[in-house]
């Protein structure tokens, strides 16, 4: 674990002055953020902006999971890295860059693939999970353990000139499997490219949603998915329905959700 000058009881009134003055945050909210542990899976295009945004917001601890190394094709959007970083481990580099930006941050790089072996331990020990990965299989895996451990999951994805962001509260909103957990007969023929700034927009949206949820504020998406398309500069919300037969979250709807715990609130009754 990389940790420098950490003092959990301290709120830096100067560094966070522009946030502390905001309604819904204040010194109490800033201190709350400093106590939170966030798991970010993926330190690429989405991970670059969202990691900086989380660190800047004053999240106390961030664990970064990524087994990949930096390649030249990453550099159009993965602003955490430089040309000289090609070939090096992303998670380790990202941790170092965040500490340069914010020395008080506690960061833990995990240079491994996420799997059924390490996912339970990682997800269980964090307050909130964020996906910044590039494939559906990993999202399905993350969603499964977020449902098991009732962790709020902030999800996002990008493609070409578009992207989406969503907040999944197991037992309160439809989960990733409810919508996208469909077995597909084939995958996309060619890997779609993405405009670098689109990853910046969606990664920033994910970070914003994460901070809102960690502060215990109302989920602004409330089970809907937010799609952004640069072609007409539109944000469109998509309402989805839960799958009553979902293998991951259907059982959670029959009992009070504890997912709100990650938001610092008492669990709500489920309709």
């Amino acid at each position: 674990m990389i940790q420098k000058n950490r003092n959990d009881l301290y709120v830096d009134d100067v560094r966070y002055s522009r946030q502390i003055g905001l309604p819904g945050i204040g010194r109490a909210g800033q201190f709350l953020l400093s106590q939170k542990r966030v798991l970010v899976i993926g330190a690429g295009g989405l991970g670059s902006p969202l990691l900086f945004a989380l660190a800047g917001a004053g999240i106390g601890h961030i664990t970064i999971v990524d087994s990949d190394t930096v390649s030249e094709s990453n550099l159009n959007r993965q602003f955490l890295y430089r040309a000289a970083d090609i070939g090096q481990q992303k998670a380790k580099l990202a941790s170092e860059r965040l500490l340069e930006y914010h020395p008080d941050l506690s960061v833990d790089p995990v240079c491994e693939y996420l799997s059924d072996v390490n996912a339970p331990g990682l997800i269980q020990t964090h307050d909130l999970v964020i996906t910044a990965v590039d494939n559906r299989q990993t999202r399905i895996l993350i969603n499964k353990y977020c449902c098991i451990f009732r962790k709020v999951l902030v999800d996002g994805g990008v493609r070409a000139f578009s992207g989406y962001a969503a907040v999944i509260e197991p037992g309160r909103t439809p989960c990733y499997h409810c919508l996208f957990g469909i077995e597909e007969k084939a995958r996309i023929k060619d890997p779609p490219g993405v405009l670098g700034s689109i990853a910046g927009i969606i990664g920033s949206l994910e970070a914003t949603l994460a901070v809102i949820m960690l502060l215990g504020l109302t989920n602004p998406l409330d089970g809907e998915i937010m799609y952004f398309h640069a072609g007409n500069m539109s944000f469109e919300r998509l309402k989805i329905e839960r799958d009553p037969k979902c293998p991951h979250c259907s059982a959670l709807w029959k009992q009070p959700s504890e997912a709100a715990g990650a938001r610092g609130k008492e669990p709500e009754s489920v309709k």
Partner: protein, 107 residues
């Protein structure tokens, strides 16, 4: 019914959403699907949309001639994945919302 498009489907169709009345008359120009009960299915809706939007829709979403749906997008009916219903044979009504969404997985 309302058809909603997301992401690059907006570019392919030129709109974010459109209305399609679900009545028998609205489909009189469409060849009946084999085995059709006379009611309106998602397959029939896609055929109408293909005739409206021509090649971009045919190439990227649905080709009625071969009854082929591209596999890199999702169709939701009232927020539920079509695969969890009756697929393209799912029947629709005039108050339904059909959402077409591209698979968006990169990070």
């Amino acid at each position: 019914m309302t058809i909603k498009y997301y992401a690059q489907l907006i570019d392919w169709t030129g709109c974010t959403q459109e209305e399609l009345p679900v009545t028998a008359d609205a489909y009189s120009c469409i060849s009946p699907v084999s085995g059709s009960t006379g009611k309106v299915s998602v397959r029939m809706v896609l055929s109408v949309l293909e005739s409206r939007h021509k090649e971009p829709f045919k190439e990227n979403i649905y080709d009625s001639a071969s009854d082929t749906m591209q596999d890199d997008f999702f169709i939701l009916l009232n927020g539920r994945h079509l695969a969890r219903l009756q697929g393209l044979d799912t029947l629709v009504s005039d108050t339904d919302i059909l959402s077409l969404i591209p698979v968006t997985e990169a990070g």
